[in-house]
Assembly symmetry: D2
Homo-oligomer: 288 residues x 4
């Protein structure tokens, strides 16, 4: 397929490379154009604007930092919609539920929300989990690209925003799971238990979920640098969860806790720590 890819950060460049590897024709665009160099030397074309990248494409994929970036790329001058027609657009970014609804309305059936679970190494290894929601035929057309970049696509129905809600639920649950596990491990450690032994029993029985093994180094050794996903980005996502909860009238007390621990982590440790620093705040508050 002829694919346009917008946004070449840590996640986006890994994803784009897999599209290229799978044999598709790739045009790329990034706000700072030099980020495209590696992909261009690997065979991609560089475009000067989102609109230019999309001009000839059968599908546009985007992976951008936040709502603001997506709004600029879609609704701005030289944005995807600036030409008057809406291309098929698979949005992989973690954005607000409200923006997903606005993209859906503006896209007239061409917009698919397709946020992903997985960190940069999973993006590079084409091992992402993709959550896709939107018109069935639009997802069908996008599926070859999803197959090239992920290990699994979960289809969640016709309403694009539903995929974004799910993504936010997932990120919230990562924080909630790490918070609770850190509290348990800290209680154990301050009672003289070996944290690793405690962790092994807990994850060897009722709590054997990938989320815990993914964050084992943070939970057991307090490793929060270098960041795979920074605390400020995590906080941004928790703010999106909070907005969605506020709009839908849903009290979420665990959200309050993880938000506060992210704030503490940033205030005390700095802006560069991994969002898993919620776990080291739990330990620090107990004097560890």
């Amino acid at each position: 397929m002829r694919v346009a890819f917008l946004g070449l950060g840590q996640m986006g460049s890994g994803i784009a490379r897999n599209i290229l590897k799978a044999g598709h024709e790739l045009t790329v665009w990034n706000r700072s154009p030099d980020k495209a160099d590696v992909l261009v030397s690997a065979g991609a074309r560089r475009a000067a604007s989102p609109a230019a990248a999309a001009a000839d494409a059968e599908i546009v994929c985007s992976m951008l930092a936040d709502d603001h970036a997506v709004e600029a790329v879609v609704f701005g001058p030289d944005g995807l919609l600036s030409g008057g027609t809406a291309p098929l657009h698979a949005g992989h970014s973690t954005i607000s539920v409200a923006l997903a609804r606005r993209l859906t309305e503006a896209g007239g059936g061409t917009y698919v929300s397709a946020p992903v679970f997985g960190r940069p190494p999973a993006a590079e290894a084409a091992q992402l989990n993709i959550i896709a929601a939107g018109p069935a035929d639009a997802i069908d057309r996008a599926q070859p690209i999803f197959d090239a970049i992920g290990k699994q696509t979960f289809r969640l129905g016709e309403e694009p925003a539903h995929a974004n809600v799910l993504k936010l639920c997932g990120n919230f649950l990562i924080m909630g799971a790490l918070e609770a596990m850190a509290e348990a491990l800290t209680l154990g450690a301050k009672n003289g238990l070996d944290k690793a032994a405690l962790f092994d029993v807990l994850t060897g029985t009722l709590f054997g979920a990938p989320v815990f093994t993914n964050y084992k180094a943070a939970l057991l050794e307090g490793q929060i640098r270098p960041a795979g996903f920074t605390a400020p980005l995590g906080l941004k996502d928790m703010a999106l969860v909070g907005e969605a909860a506020l709009a839908a009238r849903v009290p979420m007390p665990v959200l309050g806790i993880v938000r506060d621990h992210l704030l503490q982590a940033i205030a005390v440790e700095g802006e560069d720590v991994d969002w898993a620093a919620v776990t080291t705040m739990v330990a620090a508050n107990a004097g560890l």
Copy 2:
């Protein structure tokens, strides 16, 4: 082996039966003696007191309701220690860390803490996970009984109380996991997602832990009766977690939340609901 078993509630009677099935000689005692009838007709002997049950036994196993019951059975008149000698004692009850330390001191090397994970059906099916801590030789001697009643024994070192800390951590994490998942599912439901679809994606990716599948009916259908483990019992365990956290100086904000939701569940729904009612409180507070 000649085994004495003290405490024939829902969990204890299932466990005792498996000891009998495995070919051991079983003497049983229960505060209300009629609870022993079924086991007696299956071949067990009935004793009139804990001391009498223990008199001739190579090992004493106990599964009792709370600290108070364990104290009576061990330290009371006609209790395990009333004869002046301490039998090998495997304590399966969920008790306080403080009491575990007292039992250790009083037992002089004969006490093994061996709390279990698993609900009554797992007890009947000999599918419990057993957490054992205590002197290695004592655990070795108890191991044939553990093999008869569980699917796996996790050894956690020489300090009995450590097994109780782990058990409390586990019960706390069950509550914490259900609370967080319920918040996510409620956010999804109030945004129009199908709860079951959302649950399937979350547990099909990062959150694929048995704790969630075990409580699927509560999470998805709000089923909180009949109780497998009642909210007041869950609250009692959370109080034990709180005591341990207080003694060890460990702030545990998620504990505060689940405690409050258990209190709400009991205040609003009644004393008979399952402790998984924390999940229905989350939904109710969002107007569902």
Copy 3:
């Protein structure tokens, strides 16, 4: 003075009337013009736009619903700044810290933040507490108006946004105080104490603050309708507090609680309840 007043809701119309009463020349504007009828018949002039109202004024006062309304009135077409010059502007609305900073920058020394404490009856009675921050000479010029509408002006320095931070702190503390008092009263009531007697002793000793007497009917009788200030408006303010806390990296656990109780109040009771319904949620969650 020649005064322009923008925004004639419950608070604004009461304030405007007092400006008129004090003998100033008043021009008013409101988005729905009929809200101005009463004031016009009392001697005020009606303007067709914010810019028109400001044209001839020595000072412009505004009391609007939210950030959005203030942005429209200041930065929009026919807004205060549309003519190229910035009039002296006293902003009484509860707005975000970020918008206060933007108004300061755009105003070039003419903007004073002057949020108020007090509900509609206090506005009508010229009994508001006014928190003023901005250039000293600008506040000096505005002081005769503040004297006409309030009982006291607190000056908080040169930085307008500081007044908005203080206002948000105050609204947060109202919620926090009501939440804590409601928890105490509920504990008392469920232990058989008379709530009114308990309240009288507490407010007769350490906790004798106006915030509690102001909300006595909600605390003691659960009176949450009709609303003096609705729960959705309170929630909007708590969201502003949350944004400020997020930007400044301040964990605020009590904020999480009151936000959740406001959400519960709206979800369960409806959009029309007073924000003091946080207190009835506390009681309801205990089964009262």
Copy 4:
């Protein structure tokens, strides 16, 4: 009157001195007898046991550290009830609701709960607020003593435990008020406001309660040593609140927060800090 006073700690010795000053005949007892020296040299008699102190007394007053101490003094050998009769007993200690009920039952109409609000300087100055509950005639008989030691007696009805519930509510509210105020001040400080100016406006308007002025040094200057009332004692009281809430089925989310901040204060700062250290934890978690 002939008065026996049991418990001569910081609070008790100040109270006892005022009884003596008022012209009553005083017999004192303390577990470590040397604490009585000063009072004896001022005219009090020393007794060897609670029972001996009470032998000839018209009223017994007690001010002890915790439930355990009260139980020993009342129910122990040589305790108040060891002689078979129950003297009129005014209990000033902060104890559990459950123990108050037990004292009531055992006392047969002779027990009055009379906990106090006020720190040691208030005890010395006879400026305590006394909360009295119990049989009206018993309180009448105790009133002259209350008049000698306090500035005001609040009568709360016939049920002694109600006074203890109120005392726990009060101590909880102190913590809750300090927590919320600290959050507000921290938000202000991190936005550039002068904490003292912010505090003055807040306490000059809606929040003008003695609780805030009493703790001004902690709130504004972070002064948490020397302790007027230590964090571990405060934590003990919050645990009593928690037990009462658990027994009465009352969710109290603010209690969870202050408990966690007390735990953090002790874990991080040490056992010797004032319970107002909840406020410095709020600041520390924001990086101040």
